[in-house]
Amino acid sequence: MNTSTNEAVVVANGYLSRQAFWCRDLSTNFYMLGSMGLALSIGLGVALAQPHRRVAVLDGDGNLLMSLGALAMAGHMAPPNLMHIVIDNQQYASTGGQASLSGSVKMQMLALAAGYRIALEASDQAQLSEALEQMRATEGPSFLRVLVSAGVEVAPRVPRSPEEIARTFRKSIAGNET
């Protein structure tokens, strides 16, 4: 995989997008605000349109479970540049911490059954670094479940208009082609 260009990152709606923005805002980040469940679908579209750029989907467990069929689409098209990372806190944090069903689901097995090439799990910093390294060294689609504790610091909303989020991202990753 050519890594000369920045990875594009599609971040799921809810606290994930907010945290990603305030943690490290990049022009190659796409912040979902609504359309819950569609992070993987959006990321798959980016990966197919930009086959020479690595695309990471930063998903949540609630988001993933809302649209499991998208796993079949990703596995079927199997873009080698797609990395799918699910931050699993086993709850819907931004709506008040209601439990999700993720504790009952072996999501790595779902990913492999759908056609992903590898599926990993990480529950601490060292495992996370190792897993990301492995994903970047192999062809995708690759899957990583990151087990995190519930109850994170709440970040403010993304202070950028949706139109600007889309324009910035598209210009950054496809600017010369459109």
Binding site: S35, M36, I42, G45, A47, S67, G69, P162, A166
Partner: protein, 162 residues
């Protein structure tokens, strides 16, 4: 208009990423998209996934089209409002219109009669071309979509594309 002509026409308008969920009204066009390697057609399992993927393709530099049956319109309303319209994505929707009159199968009647009002309610301009108007509708719709950065829809009755 034949399905092959429809695909060529759409392609000539610089649309270069096709996705969707099958519909018999659009069957001949879908058959061409699936089999003719000149077209990039990516199958989706649900209409909201198709819309999400189309938006991703647009963000990656493509000009996407989503084909679906109107039964899927209800299913993807949230994707259309809180993704496509919200981020001002110029998406072309080609929607097979089942239940356009009361002579269709019972499961299509209610959504069939509600489809135009649903599109109006969420602010998506749409055209209902007759067989001879597909070319002009497509051309006007794509112009509008690109000048306003907004989704537009064609509601396709049975036998308009065959």
């Amino acid at each position: 208009m034949t399905g092959a002509d429809f695909c060529e026409l759409t392609s000539a308008l610089k649309y270069d990423f096709f996705t969707g969920v099958p519909d018999s009204t659009l069957g001949t066009a879908l058959k061409v998209l699936e089999s003719d390697l000149r077209y990039l057609y990516v199958p989706a399992v649900r209409e909201d996934n198709a819309v999400g993927m189309a938006v991703g393709a647009y963000l990656g530099g493509k000009n996407p089209v989503v084909l679906m049956q109107n039964s899927g319109l209800g299913l993807c309303l949230n994707a259309l409002t809180s993704l496509v319209s919200l981020y001002k994505i110029p998406l072309l929707l080609v929607i097979g219109w089942r239940g356009a009159d009361e002579f269709d199968a019972p499961e299509h009647i209610l959504m069939g009669s509600a489809s135009p009002a649903l599109l109006t309610a969420v602010g998506i301009p749409f055209w209902i071309p007759a067989r001879d108007d597909v070319t002009s509708s497509l051309s006007v719709a794509s112009l509008r979509s690109r000048s306003e950065n907004s989704p537009v829809a064609l509601l396709i009755r049975e036998r308009v594309i065959d």
